[in-house]
Amino acid sequence: MADAVFLAISVLTIGSAIAALELRSLIYGSISLMGTLGGVAGYFLLLDSPFVAMFQIAVYIGSIAVLILFTVMLVRRQLIFIKVEDKRRRYAGIGLMLIMMMSLGAIILSSGIKTIQTDAPPVDFRTIGEDFLTYYWPALILMALILASSVIGALTLARREDIENDQRTS
């Protein structure tokens, strides 16, 4: 059984995840997405990994959510409220979702995962750093490359070429 905090976080997370996708306004959708991300951070805290939790909040809410909000604000006002989708697709999607939930749930529940229990003390967050720099250092470099290429790619994509330079004195 789970305790009350867990239940509260579950309601928050699942509820705001659904809301993020279903709310009419994109701005409220982004706020709900922030709720989901915060809820997941709460799970991380329950799982004794404060470093990851704080990382999640600082990165996901502190920067990704900001970027999403900002981009949503750039979109025209009418578009924020538009929801284009057809009914059949939607029912199919809900069906797919339910099937996935059922099947995965059945698999997991039958896999003996229920027996896993632990009383071990939580892992110190410093070991994460050690992992990075000793065994997983190629991954670190790879990640640097990914980040670098993403920033380069994003900047190259997002700039606009359609404006002539002479419209503004530089």
Binding site: V40, D48, F55, T71, M101, I128
Partner: protein, 101 residues
């Protein structure tokens, strides 16, 4: 009353399912991005949960990696959306397709 691994896993499955529903149904590029974020979060939750119950730091390490990569992905994704919006004045994927031809 303590939390067990299976609780976390079930939540993670639920998030994954919601995410897949979003990706498959929504036609708004920004909403699809939301759905993808939710899926990534489900994965992270699983990673960290298993890492806690099989005491090991590797799961957290990978969760960090995946969050970082999600950030990179969002940056590129939103840049793409901005470009598309600037071209078509819309954020609807279907519109992109129809306007191209």
């Amino acid at each position: 009353m303590t939390n067990e691994l299976v609780d976390f896993v079930i939540i993670s499955i639920a998030l994954l399912a919601i995410g897949i529903y979003g990706v498959s149904v929504k036609r708004n590029a920004i909403r699809m991005l939301f759905a993808i974020e939710i899926i990534i979060n489900a994965a992270n939750l699983n990673l960290v949960a298993f890492a806690r119950y099989i005491p090991n730091s590797k799961g957290q390490t990978f969760a960090l990696f995946s969050i970082a990569i999600a950030a990179a992905e969002v940056a590129v994704g939103l840049a793409l959306i901005i470009v598309a919006y600037r071209m078509y004045k819309n954020v609807d994927i279907a519109e992109f397709r129809s306007l191209k031809g």
